[in-house]
Symmetry: C2
Subunit: 181 residues, 2 copies
Amino acid sequence: MAENRSRYAILGALTVAPMSGYDIRQFFALSVGNFWFENYGQIYPMLKALQRNRLIKPLARGPTSRRVAYEITAKGRRVLAAWLAQPAELQPPRNEALLKLFFAREGPPGAAAAILKQCRAHHQQLLMTYAGIAKEIDRHSGNPNVSNWRLTLNYGRHVSEALLQWCDEALKAETQAPDVA
Amino acid sequence: MAENRSRYAILGALTVAPMSGYDIRQFFALSVGNFWFENYGQIYPMLKALQRNRLIKPLARGPTSRRVAYEITAKGRRVLAAWLAQPAELQPPRNEALLKLFFAREGPPGAAAAILKQCRAHHQQLLMTYAGIAKEIDRHSGNPNVSNWRLTLNYGRHVSEALLQWCDEALKAETQAPDVA
DNA sequence: GCCTGCATGTAAACGGTTACATGATTCG
DNA sequence: CGAATCATGTAACCGTTTACATGCAGGC
């Protein structure tokens, strides 16, 4: 398995602003939910661990609030930077849709077509979501991070457009020589 | 986490031919290694479990060999078909490369460019691998599965071509407005 | 005889998800 | 007051990887 990426994801989130565990989850869900996610079961224990290693430190909290926000330390930034300098893991090892398509002949008639249609709808939906995100990004021009936001957004766009085309080609071939014996 | 897909992957492999645990690992590594993989720690316990549930059954083995091959039963085929009829999980939740790009400004100068170059080389390499696989598939024309093999192959081609283009666009933008402050 | 590949397996650790428990705050 | 949301956390479980252990078979 890949090494503990939640550690770096959380450190990265804290470079944007000091955050609580709750904030961190919101951050991932609302900003980069299309390619990253963290849940509480990872976040809270990791915050404790990062604090023990002095990679983050808690900010003083108001006496009325339970909320504990953390900020990244200089050491934390170094650890994050070292990770960012490493090559990334490209291409996840498993793709369930392709596995199903590979064995589709063993499924009911039209199983392959069903997955292709599901895939098509999925990426069409994604492209609409991306269009919304693009507008959102445009509203923050001036922020030094917009170029990186557009970068990750364009990744999704390229992939979804390519896969829409793939679905269409495959569905066309499917109707000409269908699975149904 | 997604439900136990190793179960179905192994059942699917056994529809191709009766196989031993060793064979199954080879099968995934050599045929669909670009989008699926199983290791022994999953395979052998799962074979026992599948046998207990009567989804597969061991073939008689020669007295000289330790090798135990399994074949899928009718019940096993039904279970596999039921799974194939279900919608697939599209788009894995985590993409490490995009996470790194998203926080690239926190890394050393040129961190984003380094990842983009790595990505470019990766997909160029993949496209060459795919060309080899295409030739391999052509050699099996007549096999009823070739259409599905081409389907999964084309998925990879579409994605890699799209991402090559994405890398080039991104690297071009990068050299115009580099990360290096 | 030795090395490579065939072949089967297990234990421990790790990463990640899910479900649950608890209670404060805020707003209508 | 009640509902939604803020907020923190834990325990159990599951899936997956890694490392290890064992030994046979075939070819150089």
